[in-house]
Symmetry: C2
Subunit: 148 residues, 2 copies
């Protein structure tokens, strides 16, 4: 199945808006993500609706953070993206046959459990956690290239 890349992309943007350019146009973000400005507006619109970011039109406009990164969990971002389905295991949905019913219930039970665990994990990670990890990496990177 085709993988959904909206979550990683949006996280990238949020951290970038916090650590680097406080205001970025869709075009600039698009170049960073190697995509199209319209795609950027599309995936960012859900975050704007939730108030995590704002966008302004006209010259000098663009995207800005409106929340602290430690106030936004990966679950929040996931929900802002419209809660896209992250599991690609289907279950028949064909209640004709009793065999199918048993199969579907078994698989749906697994999938529901997994979905709960996944969302728990997403809730337990704040965007700021990832940003802190980035800070560490940046420090390591700078140490590996000493100026002397």
């Amino acid at each position: 199945m085709r993988k959904d890349n909206r979550l990683p992309r949006v996280l990238h943007v949020l951290i970038h808006l916090d650590r680097h350019d406080k205001l970025m146009t869709s075009g600039k973000i698009a170049k960073m993500l190697d995509t199209n400005p319209v795609v950027v507006r599309r995936i960012m619109s859900g975050l704007r609706n939730k108030g995590y970011v704002s966008s302004s039109k006209g010259a000098g406009g663009g995207w800005q953070l409106q929340s602290q990164l430690n106030e936004i969990s990966l679950y929040d971002v996931h929900m802002a993206l419209g809660e896209p389905e992250l599991l690609s295991l289907g279950s028949g949905d064909n209640p004709n046959c009793l065999v199918e019913q048993s199969v579907d219930i078994a698989l749906k039970t697994i999938m529901t459990d997994i979905d709960i665990i996944l969302k728990e994990k997403l809730r337990n990670i704040k965007v700021s956690d990832i940003a802190s990890d980035f800070d560490l990496r940046l420090e390591e990177y700078n140490n590996s290239k000493p100026m002397t």
Copy 2:
């Protein structure tokens, strides 16, 4: 994303072969699954390679079980299908930027954990468990339609 329905379909077939028709042609299975005989052969071929079922050509041919359902876990079936990806959350895979690295690692860690838990769950369910659940449902169904 489009969901993968091979696992539920194959489970349906295995239980049907055990509880009902010991030998079924691809055509008959296709009607049961509301699909095409070629699709049936395709999704069943992995199970044949693992020895869980056999297929025979010619008149009177078709598919037959070669294992006990309690010897086959959902994980076994999943592997026989070629271990299709059940998670549709991507992670950038673009190691250019340090921000991206942190995002990717965070998401990949989650996905790896989830994948392990999912496979554990699949391993803990035998096809016979689902067949037993079917037996219960069948009994309930029969009780709900008394003959008197």
